[in-house]
């Protein structure tokens, strides 16, 4: 159950929100629409997001890509993509967490991330890693992870492009 304060902040009836881990063929276009709606990602980044859904549909959980979709009144409006890091014991990467632009500010990202963490911990996972950019555009993203208990563990200068570092956050389960 949501606390009353959280319920007010999220501005949707708890009953209307459904989280699902099942991946459907229609999620290819749903994910594309969600990612594009943000106006945040370049075309080649959108292509990567979509490719992970296709890879999952094609290869199943063996693809290493796990998803949580958030549905509001039957409409899929946000999703997270994560998975175990190959050749590690209990480390997981969070690859994508995106909320449709029309549904931002309602706590959906936090709900999704909480569900990812719950499932990772239930499966014996020890840590979740998430990588993001040092660019100003990503300041809200970094604040989001920090407010969710993620700690910046490493910084790789010029990783994404000259002047654009990669910051690696992690959270222990």
């Amino acid at each position: 159950m949501l606390k009353e304060s959280e319920e007010r902040r999220t501005r949707f009836q708890p009953g209307a929100l459904r989280l699902r881990a099942e991946v459907r063929p229609s999620d290819v276009e749903t994910v594309r629409a969600i990612v594009v709606s943000t106006g945040f990602f370049a075309a080649h980044e959108v292509a990567v997001a979509v490719e992970l859904v296709q890879e999952r549909l094609h290869r199943g959980p063996a693809s290493g890509y796990l998803f949580i979709f958030a549905e509001l009144d039957g409409r899929t409006v946000a999703y997270a993509c994560y998975g175990p890091v190959a050749c590690t014991v209990g480390s997981f990467d969070l690859y994508w967490i995106v909320v449709h632009n029309e549904f931002r500010g309602r706590g959906l990202g936090r709900r999704l991330l909480g569900e990812v963490e719950r499932r990772v911990a239930a499966g014996g996972g020890r840590r979740i890693y998430v990588e993001t950019s040092s660019r100003d555009q990503y300041a809200p993203t970094r604040r989001f992870y920090e407010s969710c208990g993620y700690v910046a563990e490493a910084r790789l200068a010029d990783f994404y492009a000259p002047g654009d570092a990669k910051i690696i956050y992690s959270r222990q389960m």
Copy 2:
């Protein structure tokens, strides 16, 4: 041309060494044999190494996996696997560099790495990243990268397993 000192150390005639970037179906088993010969990798790690070759054969260069194979007198005895990091401008990952156990200590790893760097730089690449473990078993691996000009840029505690950190090396082109 190799310097005389290097030639002596490498103990093979320079003419006998051939590097190739072309990937053949037979490389699936060749890579498995090379990786297994080291006695260094667990079964699930061998599986990942082989999977990258299969992925490359299946999807071509679009797989994101590029290879350099080292042949001595027609026998493939070492290889490197690398590729551009998605969503970056000019960053490359070195995924695998392995020399068959019978052919270690001849400078083949260094030759392969040099060829990877040459090709990355020729294609406008800016940086090569390589990740390895903090475990004692990997001390020679870390010394190899350090002697090739790679700098430890980050350390992620407990990444591979409790007590087994990931160290991220990089080299600027």
